[in-house]
């Protein structure tokens, strides 16, 4: 259990200089990671690889792993409340995997891995409410492509996680069903909108989880909950089956307790999908080849990597402790051989209003289908307009209504040019400035959020304050770029501490580089444990 605030700057790293690092020689497979386990148990390791290795070697059964996670889920869920629905078939599915292993059948790279899925991602065998009353008890007739791929990889879907209604929010308090707590401090929010998925991984209720990220909904909760959050390039993962919030910004993202897990999860769900016209046909590389064991690192494994720190993100309005955590991460990257310089993105502050105009506009349209006619809650009425009005007034929460109103206004005749069109122009400017910065730098760095997690209720009635918290992340969605958030330090929170993550932004479709840098960063950040105290003791018993 962590007893005090630990500044990561003092936690650095004895880089192993004994083994030379040659780019073409390191092992392609992530089996090498397992060697790290024996070296240091405090470093994040790939749980997915651990499970795969154990069940294939028959050291442990899939059922044993499943029971272990389900037990922890049962113990922690009354406090954390990450899940809106927990599958009843987890153990049966685990048994099925064990039987397959007994018969020497192929079980897939995610065999026995318990994956939690944000409840705005469609699952045919579980409800999919998107956190909204209007979809209460709604059960889709199909699996989202990402879910289908997970199942094909052998994963067990453990349940559906809580979120801000339709993904609109940054605290998960906007759920129509329940408030999820931050496992690090149950009085704090887990962030949002994928707060349930982040909290579930943080509390080790599942191995990895899927979230969605429209303006930071994977990255900010990853930072708040001390887990790794990966927002892929727009188009990298099929959106088919993701309940649309803002179609041009939405992406399905990954949570894990290590960079390797987030990467393996992405690997299994990404690629072109003929059911999503915006999914990219670009070839997908083997991300796992990036996860070299620490033993094989050179003294400066990131030598020559050009890192740009976005200067606008460390100024006013950003918590000083967050800034010093990021500075710590920067020093760490320098230790690893990176050349770090500051880079200015003058358009950065324009991103937030542009984002809210575009996301609201698209959402006002995307949510038109919830009219009570074909599915979802209906308020019966003799008159069509009151059937619509009643069903929507009753079914949507206040934040959703606010965004529908804003978006409808922004798209209205006479306002379109001043709002929607202008915001699109800003979006182009943002894209260009990121492009220019990424021509000069391999990756860009910023905090994932201006602060660590805050108290439940603190910003609930102050939407503008909540929106302002998205400043670090929305630009990345406007530009469609990939970004990885990983824990890098802590801030004081009373007598305890809360984790803080930093964001690495890469060029479009270059998740590979982010994963490589993130993995090396994480594997060399010794002395930092991002396991919440709530479960740390319990976890070591396993």
């Amino acid at each position: 259990m962590l007893s005090s605030v630990q500044n990561p700057r003092f936690l650095l790293i004895q880089c192993r200089r004994s083994k030379p690092f040659h780019h073409h020689q390191y092992p392609k497979s992530i089996h090498a990671i397992s060697q790290v386990q024996s070296v240091s148990t405090s470093l994040p390791t790939s749980e997915i690889q651990k499970i795969q290795k154990s069940i294939l070697s028959r050291e442990k059964t899939a059922r044993q792993f499943a029971e272990q996670f389900l037990n922890r889920l049962r113990l922690t869920e009354p406090y954390v409340k990450s899940f809106l629905h927990v599958s009843k078939t987890v153990l049966n599915e685990a048994d099925e995997i064990d039987r397959k292993i007994d018969r020497n059948e192929d079980v897939g790279p995610l065999a026995g891995v318990l994956v939690a899925v944000k409840d705005n991602i469609c699952t045919a065998d579980m409800p999919s409410t998107a956190g909204s009353k209007i979809l209460e008890n709604y059960r889709p007739p199909f699996d989202a492509t990402a879910v289908r791929k997970l199942k094909e990889g052998g994963a067990i879907i453990v349940g559906k996680t809580n979120l801000d209604e339709f993904g609109m929010g940054s605290t998960t308090e906007g759920s129509a069903y329940q408030v999820t707590a931050n496992p690090w401090n149950l009085e704090c929010v887990p962030g949002g909108s994928s707060g349930g998925s982040a909290a579930a991984v943080s509390a080790r209720q599942c191995v990895v989880s899927l979230g969605s990220d429209t303006g930071g909904s994977v990255r900010q909760p990853a930072s708040f909950c001390g887990v790794v959050g990966l927002k892929p390039t727009y188009g990298r993962v099929s959106r088919y089956g993701l309940v649309a919030y803002a179609s041009s910004l939405d992406v399905i993202g990954c949570f894990g307790s290590s960079v390797a897990d987030a990467g393996i999860l992405l690997q299994s769900i990404c690629g072109h999908d003929k059911l999503d016209a915006t999914s990219s046909k670009r070839e997908v590389n083997d991300f796992t080849s990036q996860f070299v064991a620490k033993d094989y690192f050179e003294s400066q494994p990131l030598k020559g990597l050009r890192v740009g720190v976005i200067s606008e993100t460390l100024g006013d309005g950003v918590d000083q402790e967050v800034v010093s955590s990021i500075r710590g991460a920067i020093s760490h990257l320098e230790e690893l051989g990176c050349t770090v310089t500051e880079v200015s993105l003058p358009s950065f502050s324009l991103g937030l209003p542009a984002y809210y105009v575009l996301a609201s506009s698209e959402s006002s349209s995307n949510l038109s289908r919830y009219d009570g006619i074909r599915y979802g809650n209906q308020i019966v009425s003799d008159e069509l307009s009151s059937l619509y009005g009643g069903s929507r007034a009753n079914g949507f929460g206040p934040e959703v209504k606010r965004r529908i109103l804003m978006g409808t206004y922004a798209l209205s005749a006479g306002y379109y040019d001043a709002y929607y069109k202008r915001a699109q122009q800003v979006r182009t400017v943002v894209q260009k400035s990121f492009k220019a910065a990424l021509d000069e730098h391999d990756i860009l760095i910023s905090p994932a959020a201006p602060s660590a997690a805050y108290k439940i209720g603190e910003k609930k009635n102050d939407p503008l304050a909540m929106y302002a918290g998205d400043i670090m992340t929305v630009n990345v969605n406007l530009a469609g770029l990939p970004a990885l958030v990983l824990p890098c330090g802590f801030v004081k929170n009373g007598t305890a501490s809360l984790p803080v993550g930093f964001q690495m932004i890469g060029a479009a479709f270059d998740e590979e580089k982010l994963l490589r840098v993130g993995h090396i960063f994480e594997q060399t950040l010794e002395g930092c444990s991002f396991i919440p105290p709530l479960i740390a003791d319990e976890l070591f018993k396993c």
């Binding site: 991602i121 999919s128 088919y240 349209s365 038109s368």
Partner: protein, 507 residues
Amino acid sequence: MKTKQQPHSNFTETARAKAVEKALKDFEAIIGIETHVQLATMTKAFCSCAYSYGDQPNSCVCPVCMGLPGALPVLNSKVIEYAVMLGLALNCKLSMNSKFDRKQYFYPDLPKGYQISQFDIPIATNGFIDLDLPLEFGGGHRRFGITRVHMEEDAGKLLHTGTGNYSQVDLNRAGVPLLEIVSEPDMRTGVEAAEYAAELQRVVRYLGVSNGNMQEGSLRCDVNVSIRPIGQLEFGTKVEIKNLNAFSAMSRAIDFEIARQAALYNEGKADEIVQETRLWEEGSQKTVTMRKKEGLADYRYFPEPDLPEVILTEEYVNGIRDSLPELPDMKRRRYEDMGLSMQDVLFLANDVNIADYFEATIATVPDIKLATNWIMGDIAAYMKNEKLSINEIKLSPQELGELIASIKSGTISGKIGKEILFELMEKGGTVKGLIKEKDLVQIVDPVEIEKIVDKVITNNPKQLEQYRGGKTKLQGFFAGQVMKESKGKANPGILNKILLEKLNAKS
């Protein structure tokens, strides 16, 4: 086939004609048409559902066309192909870079709450259509402007119960691809408007992009009509007419509307002509107010983020241009050049299947006149009586050619040709086979004919006497008897020549 206007009631018909004639002395009518054409693609515009008219409600649906949460549209590339085909056929300028937009409104037959359509950049603009007015309307060539052609999806249908207590939604039609064709306000009469629509129907059928069936709603026309005093430059108030299920209804509805508006003008009630949508009522032969337009509807169009831009390449467009079939107007000009009368031209080119049939026939026997006569005569009559299309009759154009050739060569008589035509249309088979089977070859051997003539004369001594006594009309009787005896096979020319010789011979 062109159907003549069926008068529903002679009184209203003449009354309306008179009223329109009177109105058009003082006023000019300005008519523009919006046409929706359902495309005959195998699957819907944005999902893989097949659609066919009249299927069990909600049996051709999937998550995408039902607008379920999480479902996404993926464009059927045939829709673009058909749009480009029609754009080229209508002499339009193509947008090499267009996009889809969302048109937003709430209605129960619109599952997503928006229609995927094209707003500010339609795939084709600025074209025209050439047509020939039917002779019964005075004939003449017309060119009408096409403002734009854009791609969009159809909505579902509301099924109203008999009691009117509730309605049900059928989403079979939701997501079926449409092309909307907007004309310039170039038409001046109901007939011109109806002929514009008929020509558009021919074009889509020639291209094979739609069945163009108005009754099933595969081709739907909304008409905008306004009038202005002749000489006035500014347009009058535009009234939209819907529910036009046939070209004749279009023509009648527009004429009614012109007369209605003119009457209001003349009574000093021009301000009662308001911007509204009126429905054509077939029963009363009237247009009635459906809804008044309260300001302009705000559809909050914005670019559809679920679909990439539609980018055409020169190569793609050229490929389509090169494979376009001959279009109705080109065909009519070619038929005219072949020497066919305008009436024949309009008949043959009206239906691409008939035109194909005609051309396949003359490829077998190069006699344009005879082929035309047979097709427009007995074959057309048979099709009309039996309610069959040209593709449904069992006589192939090759066999029609064979039939014509057999008559021309004298193998069979024209009379026998006519007789076996019906058998061929009904049962099929070959001309040669039928001639052989029924022993129908014409008798042209004078010796054989003479034998029959002799036999008939011998068998009818009384009539012979009367003939020779001056009752020469009886020649017809003898000819008939000889024909009967030969089972219709005797060559009439030779028969008559021999018969006359024999009758007039002094014995």
